[in-house]
Symmetry: C2
Subunit: 202 residues, 2 copies
């Protein structure tokens, strides 16, 4: 958890600490990173760190939250732009995230995050369906979807998010080009759209 003390700090000092933290998380996963390294890089005493955050996780999730907000905003924008088309919105979102995590200055940082992505981090990273459900659901055009209830729409969103996340992780896991990776994601989305079973056989 971030503490009020940190938020009271000048923006410059905040940034100095956040930058140091990001460097540390670019060097090592949450599991292997250390408070010791962050304070060394930021040039602050140990005690200060613990005035600002509860622990290492605190600053890790604080950093991650920025991206989370950004991703959610893009999804909402997309749903408006594509008039509620879920598939188009998520394919665009996928490309947006991919571009972001591939940026030179972010790559090592996101590599550590994605290769150690657990479901707590995933929940933080993606627009949290449980919290923002209503806002997102309202924007979706359900007339094209093969669903009969709000609950089924949630299932659809969860399936898409699962598939999206796994594909993003594979960016760092497999030696596949960005272009190929997008192609695979789109193909999987199309499979989900049309169904994996032959029509009529079900």
């Amino acid at each position: 958890m971030v503490k009020q003390t940190f938020l009271n700090l000048s923006v410059e000092k905040q940034n100095k600490i956040l930058t140091a933290a990001k460097e540390e998380f670019a060097r090592a996963s949450l599991k292997d990173a250390s408070v010791a390294n962050i304070i060394k890089k930021a040039g602050i005493p140990r005690g200060s760190f613990y005035q600002y955050f509860n622990d290492l996780e605190g600053i890790f999730y604080y950093l991650l939250e920025e991206h989370s907000k950004d991703v959610k905003k893009r999804l909402v924008d997309n749903l408006v732009k594509y008039k509620g088309d879920v598939t188009k919105s998520f394919i665009d979102l996928y490309q947006y995230i991919l571009k972001k995590i591939s940026k030179e200055e972010n790559e090592a940082y996101f590599k550590n995050i994605f290769l150690n992505m657990d479901y707590k981090i995933e929940k933080m990273f993606l627009p949290n369906l449980e919290d923002n459900l209503n806002e997102i659901i309202q924007l979706i055009d359900i007339t094209k979807l093969n669903i009969e209830s709000r609950l089924q729409l949630i299932y659809v969103l969860e399936i898409i998010e699962s598939v999206m996340m796994r594909n993003l992780i594979q960016v760092f896991q497999r030696s596949v080009s960005k272009e190929k990776n997008i192609e695979i994601f789109i193909k999987e989305m199309l499979l989900i759209n049309s169904g994996i079973y032959k029509k009529g056989d079900n």
Copy 2:
């Protein structure tokens, strides 16, 4: 990594250590568990532990491997039993895993695993598609599937595994009964089967 020295030990001694480790991993996640606790519980000196395993992860993944083998066997059995029907095979597999992880004596252990499931653990836990692909693919009846290539079949399997895994995690994350959880998984499988888009609209 497990070392040969451990495998040379008597089965009783091996079990004493594995039991202690399982207790520790029932108490805490991989991140929070400690070698110190395992050796205390097992009553072995510190040096011995490091003769048997490289580190904590070593024994963690060694334990997990047992389940991995078991799950893979069940999937193969299912594919035979259900004559290559992917959906039926995975729904049965899902129920099998759910039953196993809900067992009294396993619950705390699996809770820690699933709530801290990252993609490295996931890869270990599930029948590894990359390693066992051929064996599994051969058993699948593709005539019912809406696919045109071997590659698409892999996509289908990956989608199913993603969805399965997320639902398993939610057993421990959400306060939903086992029955309801199975129901949701089945509904999601049916959605994937028939497609999330209305037929003809695509």
